[in-house]
Symmetry: C2
Subunit: 708 residues, 2 copies
Amino acid sequence: MAETPEEQPTRTAEQTSPSPAAQRPSGLHPDLEWREVRRGRRPGEQYVRIVRPFARGFQRARPGYLVAREEILAPKTGFARLWYTVRRLLIGPPIPTAHEVHERLSKVKALAVFSSDALSSVAYATEEIMRVLILAGTAALALTLPISLAIVVLIAIVVTSYQQTIRAYPGGGGSYTVASDNLGRLPGLVAASALLIDYVLTVAVSIAAAMTAVTSALPSLYPYKVDFAVFAVILVMLAHLRGIRESGNIFAAPTYLFIVSILGLIALGLWRVLTGAPIFYTPPSEATPAEPHPLTLFLILSAFAQGSTALTGIEAVSNGVPAFKPPEWRNARITLLWMGGLLATMFLGISFLATVIGVIPDPHEQESVVSQIARALVGPTWFYYVVQAATMLILVLAANTSFADFPRLASFLARDGFLPRQFAFRGERLAFSTGIIALAVVAILLLVLFEGSVHRLIPLYAVGVFTAFTLSQLGMVQYWRRRREAGWRWRAVINGFGCLATGIVVVVIAVTKFAHGAWMVLVAAPLLILMMLGINRHYQALARALATRPGERVLPENLPPAVIVPVSRLDRPALAALSFARSISPDVTAVHIAFSPEEAEAFRAQWEQYGLNIPLVIVESPYRALVEPLLAYIDAIDKQDPRRPVTVVLAEFVPRHWWEYLLHNQTALRLKFHLFFRPNTIVIDVPYHVGRGFEGEQLERPAETTTR
Amino acid sequence: MAETPEEQPTRTAEQTSPSPAAQRPSGLHPDLEWREVRRGRRPGEQYVRIVRPFARGFQRARPGYLVAREEILAPKTGFARLWYTVRRLLIGPPIPTAHEVHERLSKVKALAVFSSDALSSVAYATEEIMRVLILAGTAALALTLPISLAIVVLIAIVVTSYQQTIRAYPGGGGSYTVASDNLGRLPGLVAASALLIDYVLTVAVSIAAAMTAVTSALPSLYPYKVDFAVFAVILVMLAHLRGIRESGNIFAAPTYLFIVSILGLIALGLWRVLTGAPIFYTPPSEATPAEPHPLTLFLILSAFAQGSTALTGIEAVSNGVPAFKPPEWRNARITLLWMGGLLATMFLGISFLATVIGVIPDPHEQESVVSQIARALVGPTWFYYVVQAATMLILVLAANTSFADFPRLASFLARDGFLPRQFAFRGERLAFSTGIIALAVVAILLLVLFEGSVHRLIPLYAVGVFTAFTLSQLGMVQYWRRRREAGWRWRAVINGFGCLATGIVVVVIAVTKFAHGAWMVLVAAPLLILMMLGINRHYQALARALATRPGERVLPENLPPAVIVPVSRLDRPALAALSFARSISPDVTAVHIAFSPEEAEAFRAQWEQYGLNIPLVIVESPYRALVEPLLAYIDAIDKQDPRRPVTVVLAEFVPRHWWEYLLHNQTALRLKFHLFFRPNTIVIDVPYHVGRGFEGEQLERPAETTTR
């Protein structure tokens, strides 16, 4: 509350000094400073003091326009201040809106930023195919490579399809945008809900796989897998609450390290195989099932469905076209091609090595297949640890990507009125805090429920991605059909083929994985859509109900309000409330609830003694209720004159300590609660702070700022 | 909201009908009815309608005085209504204050009402002596009878002492009253806290002993002992919330049944002993300790201390003197003598029989000593079951007595400002609901913590009673010394001897039972006293801080308030808030928080389009905070003119369903919270009910109640 006065000692005896009352502004003139004349220490001496009440918290831009300073964000009292300090330490000082920056990425950096999600699936895709096939015995693992080839074909189709999306949507063509624009609201929401679920699962699966990369190298950490996973999610969450952006520099090193180390591993393996050098491999104990299933088509399709998670994240480039250096669309296309090529190469290479070496997946998910390959090829050397570290890092980066994508999509949905408005607000650090925290909470829940097992999470994963792919491609088909540009037919065919291929994959995944967890997504997504539609209906109905036109009147302005002041005792809070009521309306009635006629009589006598000149109504409450008779009285008053809202002035006293509340009846609080939900009622709170009162009281003493 | 109009169709064309606006009262005249002229269906026809808005909820007593009807207590909406119905079923319809009745008791009924607590201790006092003595082996049980005799002497001393209290305090001489009156505030509080603790323990011990009486007869119920005990406490609590009074009729039957059956048992036992008839007794298995303690003086004193619980409840008569038929004090004295005599006889009789039969207490507390005696004498006959049933009933009645005493004492303490005010309020059924519920909660806690064991609860029990005895007697000594009536010397000697005797017992109990639980009371009581003193200091400081004199002013009445209206959007709630602000003061400023200069510009343009003629201040918040810039702005305004409290009008909208709140920022709520704790600030809530709005709005349509 410190003022910033500039004191200029002057002898004002000679000057014609106007009275301070004339200088002090009479109303609320917020962007003014004024001079006050104060008496000096020696008789006859006076000071002129320039008062600038707005100087502390605001920069004065121009009349009627203030700009708040950062200082006002810091709370002044105990716990709030502590929490503010802790939060500032964790997520940093606030950033003003104007400081938002948009980094433009070169192709090399863009590849790093956008491909971490897609490439990181190399760490688990091959393994997930093998985990299904091994149910039919180790011999069935020979199918790993053919299934991987089929998935690579799928990658090629999807990449080709998205090449077109990039061209058509240079402003960023997320599935929600493309589906909404071309197919309508409901398909857009289906794509959005599929993507939201997908982003949550990206975090859960990537972090779980990252922890498997850690426990592969350091088996002693295996028991703490879930704890570490939760900790990792919280770390990434905090980084995003700080407002970390998809900065190219952070991403470049781990991504290229991963690419180089995996490609190196593949090259080494190929060299060994071609030269016929021996590879020493010991499979994990009790790895094969005692009684193998028959190798049915269903099992093969299941393996394909699990492996198709390799495609997750492939759409990232098309979402982020505006982040590329110009010409944006051309650079984005080239980057997407590179990404597809790298993904296909690495995925095929790992599948090939796993087949050649004869790797058998660890049933306990302690060691990953990639780790087994690396160990067989290079043993526990530094290179092995580099591979594991790079795998872990790129998986964490993949989770990191979702922490940028989920809040952004949620903010689009909130902006369009399909999610609560909170998702569209940027926090102190310009991050969409609500979305970031929501994502972290759900991902942690999944990690704990599924005990950090990649294999148990994967069946939930791919449904959402491929649904979004399918709708996005379908939207593109519609896009070309509407535009009818040159060559629209073959463009529509390309996207139509992509749509068909990914659509078939959706069905395959939904059917084969239904019992293993996909059903959860097939239940959750429609619920999410229903919720979003309900939220939208609410916001639209509300906007209609609250809309106004210029010149419209909601309350009659010419009538002073009919004011009721409940009074239980004639104490200072009550007198303050009565005075305030009188200052706002000539039509004031005090109401006292009495428990007995004797008490009523005594109160009226005291009332008359005070000579307040306000009509008093005493309501006797034979059943000793306080709130209900007041409400009934207000009901009746309301009926008497429905033109004006009933206005209730509540005297409340605020004790010095919160625990002192326990010693007083919460009547005012209960009354406030009831009145808040009563239509046509306005509640005025006149809180009286014990020991501080109103400053108005202090003014009755001789004050320094007034002349005598 | 149904009105009760009386419609009188009249042709008013001939009559000189004043305009309805003249008839309708202009201000708040709560106890008026008025006539309204309404147009009839046929042209020219008019109705005169008598409007009585207060008819539904109130009886109109006289101008400015209303009496609320019972109907207004019933809530109108869903859950509140259900809860009201359930509560009404459990505790009955509300009772008006005027219906309070005071029953006068004959000596026979008074003995039943006041002695249940004292006499019921016969059910466990002997047993508790034996449980200590048996630690020194079964031979030590021979000391049971001598110790019982010592306790009977103590009973005689206390009864004699209290005979004098009854004479001196015919209005009821509870220990709190006597000690406060004669010794001062602190001794009064010591007695009060001792009694409060004692009442809680009476409930716990009596209910636990009642359950032992049940499990003695029906051993299969033993595992559910604690559950039944909790259930019994809740039943007694509900009975008291219904407002059961110490009705003589309810008490008479069980008390006299208990007296008769125990005296019958003693007579039968004496007869058997005198005639030398054989008594067959099988002691419980593993009843004696493997390695007996030596029989020290400490052990004997411990046994005495445990047995002294026989005296609990002996003070009840002196508390209740006004309930006797006149001459009250004489009837009370005679009743107390009878009670003392019966207590001594029954207690000695049971101790004698236990010694003669050679009863050994059951270490598991499944079967009581009284039950063992009865079983040995009469076997499993109907008489045995009558003894057990009567024992159980009188113990429940003893707990019942505490449910009357505790809330009454708590209400005295609350009235004197030593406990929260809530304890002094009578509920819908005229019962002190807060005290009743508090007692039940603490007693249930004790029963659960001590697993319903009488033996483990008893060490906590007697300290409080004897402390209250001692202080009460000391108070009486002081009383006689001050009065110096005829014979005051020997009266003081009698009370002084009583004080000395009970004082010694306090020390004996505190020392011998310290480690077994008495320490808890010796810790709890001072804490309770400190709490009561703290509460008293708070209430007194508050009363001083809030006190007023007639003619005193708290706020300057002549100044209209300086009003600030935060506006985020120009919707209906905002327009309503602005209109209301204008209706109460000419000095209104609207404040808009903008997140960017562009948004600020757009808002000002819209504002000017609306032509509201209210100054607008835009505060730009570069850090996207809403509440903090507003608070800083209010701080500055407050500094500008400290004579008037800052008045903030908040536009809030109330959605139709509670869950819709989740979809909106809780900004208004946060702001309200912060402003409530800000001194010198008044908050006005203008809630806008979606879909209902203000009735004022509807009046803009052609309304029935106004003439054209």
